[in-house]
Amino acid sequence: MSETSSATRSSSEAAPFGSPVGRRLRYRPRLVLEIRESMPAWQQFVILALSVLCGAAISTAILVWAGVPASELLSEFVNTVVDEQSIRAVLTQAAPLILVGIAASVAFQARFWNLGIEGQMVFGSIAATAVSLWHVGPESLRLLLMACAAVLGGLIWSVIPALLKLWLSVNEIIVTLLLNYVATYFLYDLLYGVWKDPTDGFPHSQVYASGERLPDIAWSINAALPVSLALMLVVVWLTQISRFGVYLRFIHANVAMAMRVGVPVVTTTFGAVFLSGSLAGVAGFVVSSGMEGRLSQGFFEGYGFSGVLIAFLARNNSLVAPLVAVLVAMLFVTGQTLQIFYQIPFSMVQLIQAIIVMCVAATEFFIRHRINLRG
């Protein structure tokens, strides 16, 4: 056989193991990657903070390029944390964000990628609005009934992807995402049809009666914030203290193994998904009843993705989720200001969120590897 094949390499093939003379190494500085076993928590935190800063820097560049003067931008953000009215807006905004954040993190802990938070919010609000429009129950209990209806609405909308996954192994990412559109168009059908406001003819429902709106508790902050914090504590209890939480951890870590050692995998996963859907339903109710005062067309927009972002940044830890939710709320509020004063589209807020998610996702690499410069 002719040996004409080794065109680029001088490994002698005639004698399978020729002399190694002639192979030399070139020494030059280079980056060497090593896999690390673990990293101290503070270092992980520093890397996380740096990546968020990095995302903020990129976002700033984009905003400046879009026409917001850099100096103004800073003052707008500072204003959000200094101005009393802005703080109030941030805290009000934080309530539904906490809810969608913990909704996402509960589902993610069961490795169920619920991207249908917006659809579940829509059905939560539709159910609550139905209670309002049909005057269900005594007025004194109306608000509570609306909240319960919202839980049911969100829950039912999460049953569909859960069952499809169990029975037919349909990927829940696709089902939940597409069901958002189904929910949205169903909402439009109601708002342009039977539930259209008869007083002004606009595609939104009639305003809720005053007893159907979440009351202010203090300092013009409505009950949404304490409600969401209380639900957050319930979730912390379920995931970190109760037996359900232990099951969830095992399902998250290794489903095959969990099944083998007797973890009720199906029940636990369903529990997490239904909890996630219910929380999203409550988030919808909180926006409609606490902020808008009626069922409106686009009340849910941006929350689904924000929920994913919050769960992701909080590493599915429900105790950390409120902190991240406040930061995202600041971004929301500042975004609204920028929208008004500089005609920056609201989708810019989503763009900034996406940039931050990508930056944070990249930190995983630095947490797992060590980079050395070797000469």
Partner: protein
Amino acid sequence: MAAVELSGICKSFGGFLALDHATFSAQRGEVHALLGENGAGKSSLMNVLAGFYAPDAGSIIINGNTCRLAGPRDAAALGIGMIHQHFKLVKAFTVAENILLANPRNGYREAQAAIRREIRAKSEALSFVIDPDRRVDTLSVAEQQRVEILKALVGGADILILDEPTAVLTEQESESLLSNIRDLAVAGAAVILVTHKLQDVKAFSHRVTVMRGGRTVNTLDPLKTSTEQLTTLTVGENVEIPSRIFHERGGPRLIVSHLKHRANAARVTLDDVTFTVHAGEIYGIAGVGGNGQTELLEALCGGLVVEHGRIEITGDVADKPSDITKASPRQRLAAGFASIPADRHAHALASSLSIADNFAIGHIHEGRFGSWARVDRHAIWRATNAAIHNADVRGVRSLSQRASLLSGGNAQKLVLAREFSRFPRILVTHSPTRGLDAKATAAVQRWLIEARNEGVAVVLVSEDLDEVLGTADRIGVLVRGRIVAEFAAPADRQAVGKAMVNHV
């Protein structure tokens, strides 16, 4: 001139000294075995030689030149090729594409043609046949290993390191691989065989270096050294080989009848499997890997729905057996099942969770550790502490440490401790000692025998014939999903071996 000379190599990982002034040399023309228990530092030392780890101290001399290896590329340039335990192949690519990927050349078409020629030449020289155009995922494990070796050879490697190459192979495959390796050495390569199997060392290596606790203990001629001497050097102390005391068996406990399962229309994986296991009996299932072992085990544990057949268990009192063919894994656990799979990190432990959690999960649904509303962390810690102490699980710095940090033997002991703490009545286990060192193997086997003596019905599925012959009271031979023969202990090794391969 030695092909490889390592001296005074030290390497520590976060305070743990994995290599402690290790010294090793290998010549061209020899198969040099590196023998040691799990965690003795064999793989670490070889990873240093292959450029994956930078040593903290010590010198590496290749072909007479002192080298500094900044990475596997440097090592490859010096002709060092390492075949890892876990193959690094792209499954969807063909053999030729995989080899081309590791040894990039200019021009796709010409390079493919050239690579194909080289693969043919090299594999013919080694007297094995491999089609360069087959996709890697259609190859058997043994064939994939050959591809890895070819990859290194095509890259011009003449110092070959094989890390536990026979761990994934059957007896026959191992033999043919090791004789191929010997041919390579005779042709002029330096072959380093990392292993913990004494019989491989005795039969196929020219020299052996023994490692223990990160140090190289001694280099010997395997033909002039007895098995006992080698065992003593590797283990550091005499291993107690479990004595076979015959035990009175009880009534039938697990009755498996006419099990049938198909992977798809064409492939029958379980075919009319029928056997009975009594209380106080170890029923061994011998056979070459891939003859239905995994499916049988899954069927017993409830992970697989059989097409046909029954699995029944009986209580302590001779009563009507209850049918558990359709019971879920959870219901089987409640009925007294325990299982110890071969791949503990994939099937028995959640590697990313703590040791305490991994122990507690076996009991938590019984309400032993707090109510459903509140898990009692303290109770878990107390119980885990006691269990790992009893089971002699070592390497535990803290109970909150991740289970993945336990070595193979200690991880398996943790699994055993958990499964036995539930006092099972039926134990189903698949190659429970796979990948374990001699000491841990003996401990696990002793545990199985003790369980039997206490009246547990044990099903031991193993591809290691020595293990089955050494521990089982009765042996069924599984071939193509059928139990083709049954032997009572003490079984004739030749007869069992014949049944394993003579399938008609």
